[in-house]
Amino acid sequence: MKPDEEIIVRRAVRELRSGMVVNLGIGMPTLIPSVMPKGLDVLVHSENGFVGMGQPDPSGTRDSDVIDAGGRPVFLMKGAAAFDSLMSFALIRGGNLDVAVLGAFEVSMAGDLANWMIPGKLTPGMGGGMELAQKARHVIVVSRHLDKHGRGKLVEECTLPLTATGCVSTLITERAVFRRTNGRMTVCSIHPDHTPDSVKEGIANVALADELEPW
């Protein structure tokens, strides 16, 4: 895990509470189980067919019978349930997910999310992202603060095709935590190595909460 990723996923884990049902999207979110502290009893939902997914299985291969949505072998916890895609998405749309942790290309100030397509360049497809973004009670986006061109992931309006509108509750980068407050993303916590100025780098017009949370 790279240092920035570790800062992000460790901060994201602190958004979770015991008893929550949590889906971890492809990419950085799948790093979360490996940093989950003992005693945090969340039920991990994986859209390819599990509730109760556990740690990565280092002895497995990508041909294993138990893989996560990103194709990596995992263990199941005792009491896990395995099911098909139909049940998996019925649970998602039925409102059984407390949290979905997703990656992003862009998050807009209004909480719109774009994470499935860069026209002409990259078309991975939306997979289960649209349902997760629309239907989880809280959507946490984990992402580097800037893209490789130095542009902030938090933008005034998304330019890429949307995954879902107004869905993001929280955006966590290696510099800050943003929460959607009164319909607009707001800086709510800043990493100790950063300042309000470095958080605003590449991001136009973001407000700070009156009182910042500790990181």
Binding site: S18, G19, V21, D41, L43, H45, F50, V51, G52, L76, M77, K78, G79, A80, A81, A82, F83, M87, F89, A90, L91, I92, R93, G94, G95, N96, K135
Partner: protein, 231 residues
């Protein structure tokens, strides 16, 4: 460790109220939460004015037949009431109302409620009284009925095996409407004939995943019942 095993009375106290819409599993005598229903019938003043959603009306004095007889139910959504002549009499006297739904559409509407599908289109019931009052739409040259999702406040289920997390498994013909009802209600109480530790049900064989379940209570020893009479 998450542990959803509760005392029956505690779970009912916390989740069940008069006036609610309550889904009850069971087909005939299979998979009916008899212990929970007996508890509610014995305390009829605490559980009144209910709307029940159940495949059938059971038999008089059995399962929901007890709640129906004690006047705890104002409306029943069901598919078949033929084994409960007392209920048919109550209905004919206007004491209770009943909506009869084709059995597969009943299951499908409840599943839609649980699966976040607001409505679906079907040709079942076209040309019959079931179509009366329903919105019909044209799709690709066919006339279809709009059937709406059905949700409940509470589901009362009887499982053959449940683990402490709430994962459930059913024997034989006991599963019937239980899984879809467990998905379609805000609160789900499972009366389990046998409660086991997490991991004892193979992950692949779990019929209803634990995330749908709020409380697991131990089913009582069922009094032997034959031909509608308790012995």
């Amino acid at each position: 460790m998450i542990d959803r095993v509760r005392e029956l009375e505690d779970a009912l106290d916390e989740y069940v109220r008069s006036g609610q819409t309550i889904m009850v599993s069971g087909f005939g005598r299979g998979g009916v939460p008899f212990s929970v229903l007996e508890f509610m019938a014995d305390r009829s003043s605490r559980f009144e004015g209910l709307t029940l959603v159940k495949n059938d009306a059971n038999e008089p004095d059995l399962g929901i037949g007890m709640l129906l007889k004690r006047g705890q139910v104002k409306h029943l959504v069901s598919t078949h009431i033929g084994l409960n002549p007392d209920f048919i009499d109550q209905m004919n006297r206007g004491e209770v109302t009943c909506e009869l739904v084709p059995q597969g559409i009943f299951a499908e509407r409840i599943r839609a409620g649980g699966a976040g599908i607001p409505a679906f289109l079907t040709d079942i019931g076209i040309g019959t009284v079931v179509a009366d009052g329903k919105t019909a739409v044209e799709l690709d040259g066919r006339t279809l009925l709009v059937e709406r999702a059905l949700r409940g406040d509470v589901a009362l289920l009887c499982a053959d095996v449940a683990d402490r997390l709430g994962n459930c498994w059913w024997r034989g013909s006991n599963r019937n409407m239980a899984v879809v009802m467990g998905m379609a209600c805000d609160r789900v109480i499972v009366e389990a004939k046998r409660i086991v530790e997490p991991g004892e049900i193979e992950p692949e064989n779990v019929h209803l995943p634990c995330v749908c379940v709020d409380a697991v209570v131990q089913a009582g020893e069922r009094r032997h019942v034959a031909e509608g009479r308790h012995f």
